[in-house]
Amino acid sequence: MGHLKRVRLGHSCGITVVMGVLVALGLVTVFPYLFNILASFKPNSEIFSLPVSVFPKKWQLANYPDLFALYPYARWLANSIIIATGSTVISLLVCSLAAFALAKYKFRGNGPVFSIVLTTMAFPIAMLLIPLFLQLARLKLLNTYWALLLPFAASPFGVFLIRQYIVAVDDALLDAARIDGCSEFGIYWRIILPVIRPALGVWAIIAFTNSWNDYLWPSVAMSDMNMFTVPVGLAGLGGGMGAQTMTNTPYGSIMAGATIAILPVLLLFIIAQRQFITGLKAGAVKG
C-alpha cells in the first residue's frame, strides 16, 4: 500500500514538473507575440510609460491606418504577395519536373545531376549575394520582381523532397498511360502531379514561407522603396533599432506592421499544420 502511494505521489509529482516546464516554455514562446500584438493597439505614449503593462489601458486602432498612411506599406504587402506566390508557383513547376526526370527516367546525367542536387542542398545563400548582385545589376534586373522571383526558385531541396514522393509512384501506372497513347508530358501533368499532391502541398508551403520571410537577398536586390518587400520595409522603419528611445518613432505603427507581417504564415500554419511539420522535419526551412 505504502509502495503504491509512493508511486502515485511520484507520478503526480512528475506530471507537475513536466507540465510546469511545458507551460513555462510555452509562455516564454508566446509572450513576445502577445506583447507585440497588444502594443500595436496602444498609443505611442503608452508604449514608453512606466509601469509597463501587457494590456493597453486605452485600446485604439489608429496605429493600423497610420501605418498605411505613413509608409507605402500597402505597396510592400502587394510586392511580398506577388513575389512569394510567384516564386512558389515557379518553384513547384521547375522542381517537380526535375524531380520527375530524376525519379522515373534512366538517362545519361541522372547520377551526376542528382549528386549536384545533394551537394547544393545546404549551400549558404550568403555566398551568392555578391555575384548575384553584380550579375543582376548588369542585366538591369535589380529593383524588378524578377530579381526575387527567379534566383532561389530552382531549389535543390525542393527537387529532393518531391523526388522522394515520385519514386514511390507505381511504374505500372505510367506504363499503362503510355500504352493508352499518353505523351510523356501528359504523364507528368495528368498522372504524376495529381498523385503527388501532398508533396506539392508541403513544398508550396515551405517555398512560400521561405520567400515571405527572406530578408538578406531582398535587402540587397531592392533599393527602390516602392519595390521593398514587407521585411525590408519593416527593417527600415527603425523598429529594430531599439538602442535609444525615440518617442517620435511611431512604434505602435511598426508593431502593427509586424503583426500584419506574421499573419499569413500564422494562418497557413494553423490551417496546414501537417504539411508544415513534414517540411520542417525534412529541414527545409531556412534559418
Binding site: 538517362f107 548582385f133 510523356e184 506574421i262 522535419k281
Partner: protein, 301 residues
Amino acid sequence: MTGLQLTRTWRARGKWQARLAPYLFIMPFLIMLTLFMLWPTLYSFRISVFDIEGLNSGTYVGLRNYRDVLADPRFWISIKNTLIYMAGSVFILSPLAFLLALALHSRLAYGSSFFRLVYLFPAITNPVVVVIMFSQLFQKDFGWLNQAGALIGLSPIPWVESRNWAMISIIIVGIWSWTGINTLFFLAGLEDIPTEILDAALVDGADYVRTVWYVMIPLLRPIILFVLVQAIIGSSLIVVQPLLLTQGGPGDASLTAVLYLYLSAFRYWKLGYAAAIGYILMAGEIALSYTVVRAFQARAD
C-alpha cells in the same frame, strides 16, 4: 495499317519521346541552378581576386584580398563572435531542445501536440519581426526583461547597448527562435524507438535517467549528429539578427562572420574583399562539418 505497324509507330514515337523527355524536364531546373547558383559561385572567385569598389569593373590584384582578410583583426573578431554564438547553439540550445523533447515524449505530458505547435512557431516567424519584438523586450528603460528583473531586485541590464551583453542578447534570440524546431527533430527520433526497448530497460530496474543515458542517447546518435551539424552550420551563418538588432555593435562586439561579409559588400562596397571573405568562410565551413562528422564516427567505433 496493320496492328503490327501501329504498335511499331507507337513504339518508335514512345521511344523517341521517352528518350528526349527527361532532358527536357530537367532543363529548366539545370539552367536556373547554373545561372543563379553554380555560375555565381565560380564568378564569386573571380570577383575575389579583383579590387572592386561598387559597380565598376575593378583591377586584378591576385590573392591580395585573401591576404588582407586573413590579416584583418575585424575578420578575426567576427570569427570569434560567430564561435561564441555557435557555442550557445551547441551547448545551450541543443541540450535544451533534447530535454524539451524528453518532456514532450514522456507519458506525463498532456497536450503534447498542442505544445509542439506552439514551440514551432518561432522557427517560421519572419526574422525581422523577431528582431522588432525582441528589441522592445530588450529595451533598457521600458523593456519587459528589465522590468521583470526589477521585480526581483536586479538592476537594469543594457542588453543590446553593451559590449558584454550584445552577443548574449543575440544568443537569447537564437535560443528562442530555434529550440522548437530542434525539439521536433529529437522528438521524431524518440518516437522511432520501440516502446518495448524502453519498457525492457525499466523492467530491468533502470531508472529514468539511466534509461535516457544508456538506452535513448545511443539509439539517437544519428539524430544527435544531425542536430549538431545543423546547429553548427546554421549558427555559422547567423547574420540577420545581429544586422538588425545591434548592427554588429557596440564597437564590433556582435559582428559575426557573415555580417562582416554583408557589411563589407553592401555598406563599404568592397565587393572583391567581401567575396574573399565568402570563400574563406566556405572553406572553414566545409572543414568544420567534416571534422564534426568524423569526430562523431570515431566515437561510434
